[in-house]
């Protein structure tokens, strides 16, 4: 054999091996996808079941009704106390002697880092590609109403938190459901708490993990070329494992420093694009309002837009879900209600501001294709609005930003990876709290959860978006079902706290320190 033919044969063998490997890798992804979709289908179907005789998912009605009830019950609290909320966040009411304890600002920032992320980037894209521009209107409305839900749950989170003898503080729905129900002499608190914990673990594995890994992979492969999802998953899993099991705090610390910066950069870029196309903003809002009530040709019309808007808003700001109550409960304050005031800024920042910006950029950049004759969206066979590049999810947002700044996808890759990572870290904590509530605290129990958490990162990255997003939503909404059911029974307690605090604030009994 000559030297030349030898190298040709060698190249052929390598090529064959590579293609075999990639075929194998493809089947890994496919198998994961099939098994996952099969095993979670019943749960998803149950959560998104329609109210008999209609096409409206009962879960959406549940969320809308709850947010509306809280809004009315607390007398439009989200519009009355914003000034006071800002004063609390800036520390004007903080006792200087409590310096060194968790401040309102820190609790809010930590809770926000768990919610601001892919829900704002990818979730919004999903909403408008299924529900059209009109979904944005319902998303904003859901954000505004959600402020009242968040207020209720975070007040309770602080009021009924556990303070351990060694000084650690932890709280969340599992604690207020048990303690609050017991205080009111109601049965079933413990049952709800355990049920919530089960769903919280699922939510942590779904929305707080798989969805993040999945969308991070989509963006990575969109920019650097297609490659199997499990590779992204394994890399993510190793890093997350190093932080939550190995206790390598430096990685977490670097992420925490960079994430707010990326958030500012993302919002800043969106603002620049919106300002550059200022003349189109009016038309974009026209599309949003018009689409909100007509649907503009999307599947399901106005109801379809509404469902998508509320679904994605709830997924993004987590109002009523109960997760934020876990993060907010460590704050140092004598008045639980103050943390409620602070927490209601969260859905506003997350949904009303950041999600709306993403939606505006997608709409302005003309990604959603309409039929020039009828003005209605062109719907593809999957029942979604056809987009200019054919992309959905994070790819759609990326394409929209790219049409203004060609370098944006590279920035977005970094942002998406970091957001995904920080959301995973937050949710690994929420999930762990629920896990240890059920199985008790201890090294073995904690390690078990953490290992499961890391395995699901790989599954999430390998599976395709459809089943992942359905399961993630279903798990997060299942948390909301339990949490909101509890909130209805506990809201009189919050009302009492609210009335007492506001009257003392008025009389000057609540002192301002700065």
């Amino acid at each position: 054999m000559t030297h030349k033919s030898f190298s040709a044969a060698f190249a052929a063998v390598v090529a064959l091996m590579l293609s075999a490997m990639s075929a194998q890798a493809q089947t890994v992804d496919e198998t994961v996808n099939r098994v996952f979709a099969d095993s979670t289908g019943w749960f998803v179907n149950f959560i998104f079941a329609s109210i008999p005789g209609t096409s409206i998912a009962w879960i959406v009605v549940w969320l809308v009704v709850a947010a509306t009830v809280f809004t009315i019950y607390f007398g439009f609290i989200q519009f009355r106390v914003v000034g006071h909320s800002l004063a609390l966040v800036s520390g004007k009411y903080s006792d200087p002697n409590d310096a060194g304890e968790v401040s309102h600002f820190q609790a809010l920032a930590t809770a926000l880092s768990g919610t601001v992320g892919l829900g704002n980037i990818a979730g919004v894209a999903v909403a408008v590609s299924i529900g059209g521009a009109g979904a944005t209107f319902w998303m904003i409305l859901a954000g505004l109403l959600g402020m009242a839900s968040k207020f209720t749950e975070c007040t309770l989170g602080v009021k009924y938190r556990n303070e351990y003898p060694d000084g650690r503080v932890s709280g969340g729905p599992m604690y207020y459901l048990t303690k609050g129900f017991a205080e009111r002499g109601l049965p079933g608190g413990k049952f709800l708490a355990v049920l919530f914990s089960i769903f919280c673990v699922l939510g942590a594995l779904g929305g707080g993990n798989m969805f993040q890994a999945n969308q991070a992979h989509q963006q990575l492969s969109g920019v650097f070329g297609e490659y199997p999802g499990w590779i992204t998953g394994v890399v993510f899993a190793v890093v997350v494992f190093a932080v939550i099991v190995g206790g390598i705090k430096s990685i977490a610390r670097v992420t925490e420093k960079v994430v707010p910066f990326m958030g500012v950069l993302y919002v800043g870029t969106a603002l620049v694009i919106i300002l550059m196309n200022f003349d189109m903003v009016g038309a974009a809002f026209g599309q949003i309002f018009n689409g909100a009530f007509t649907g503009n040709g999307i599947v399901g019309g106005m109801i379809g837009a509404l469902i998508q808007g509320f679904r994605r808003a709830a997924f993004s700001n987590e109002a009523g879900v109960g997760s934020a109550a876990i993060a907010h409960s460590a704050v140092r304050t004598k008045e639980p209600i103050t943390e409620g005031f602070v927490s209601l800024l969260e859905p506003f920042i997350d949904t009303v501001v950041i999600c709306t910006m993403t939606a505006l950029v997608i709409i302005i950049s003309g990604q959603l294709l309409t039929d020039p004759e009828t003005g209605l969206y062109i719907i593809n066979e999957a029942g979604q609005v056809t987009t200019a590049t054919g992309a959905t999810g994070v790819g759609l947002t990326s394409a929209a930003f790219e049409s203004a700044f060609s370098w944006f996808p590279y920035l977005l890759v970094i942002a998406v990876v970091l957001f995904a990572f920080s959301t995973m870290l937050s949710w690994s904590y929420y999930g762990l709290k629920a896990w240890t509530y059920m199985f008790g605290e201890g090294q073995t129990q904690e390690l078990t959860f953490k290992v499961i958490f890391c395995i699901f990162i790989v599954i999430g990255a390998a599976a395709s978006l459809g089943p992942v997003i359905d399961f993630s939503d279903a798990a997060i909404f299942a948390m909301a079902v339990v949490n909101i059911a509890g909130l209805y029974f506990l809201m009189p307690i919050v009302k009492r706290e609210l009335d007492s605090y506001l009257s003392r604030l008025k009389s000057g009994e609540i002192k301002r320190f700065k």
Binding site: G91, E101, Q106, T110, G167, V169, E256, A330, R332
Partner: protein, 144 residues
């Protein structure tokens, strides 16, 4: 009421020089040495969820450690010399907190040591001495 000398003390060589200076003053003219230790802290820093959970515990530990390892031994040592001394441990911005304590205690003087940063270093990180020289509510001695 005796004249109070507020001394910024963090255990460093420079802060020890400041303490010696203040002790010398008190020996000459009478008064009280107030040892102030400030733990750098901003209410606007970012903590992870598990750090939030443990913050109260950590704070207690940090205060205890500062009290035991840093302040108490020094207090004892100067009290043995027959000098009146008290202490304060606080969280916050170092220079601002020292100013605030001096005001609260109606101190006659603030004494701090100078670390001798390079010009560039103090431009970037800010220097406690520079800040105090500009903002101190009472006369301030910077011991080289």
């Amino acid at each position: 009421m005796s004249a109070k000398f507020v001394v910024g003390y963090d255990g460093s060589e420079a802060s020890r020089r400041a303490l010696d200076f203040a002790v010398g003053r008190v020996k000459l003219q009478g008064g009280t040495v107030v040892l102030v230790h400030v733990l750098e802290w901003s209410p606007y820093s970012f903590l992870s969820a598990s750090e939030l959970e443990e913050r109260h515990k950590r704070r207690r530990e940090e205060l205890e450690r500062a009290e035991k390892a840093l302040i108490s031994p020094v207090l004892e040592k100067i009290r043995v010399e027959g000098i009146e001394a008290e202490s304060a441990i606080r969280y916050g911005h170092i220079a601002e907190t020292i100013c605030k304590i001096a005001e609260e205690m109606a101190a006659v003087q603030i004494v701090i040591g100078r670390n001798g940063h390079t010009q560039l270093g103090s431009r970037i990180f800010g220097s406690v001495a520079g800040h105090l020289a500009q903002a101190a509510p009472v006369p301030c001695t910077i011991v080289p």
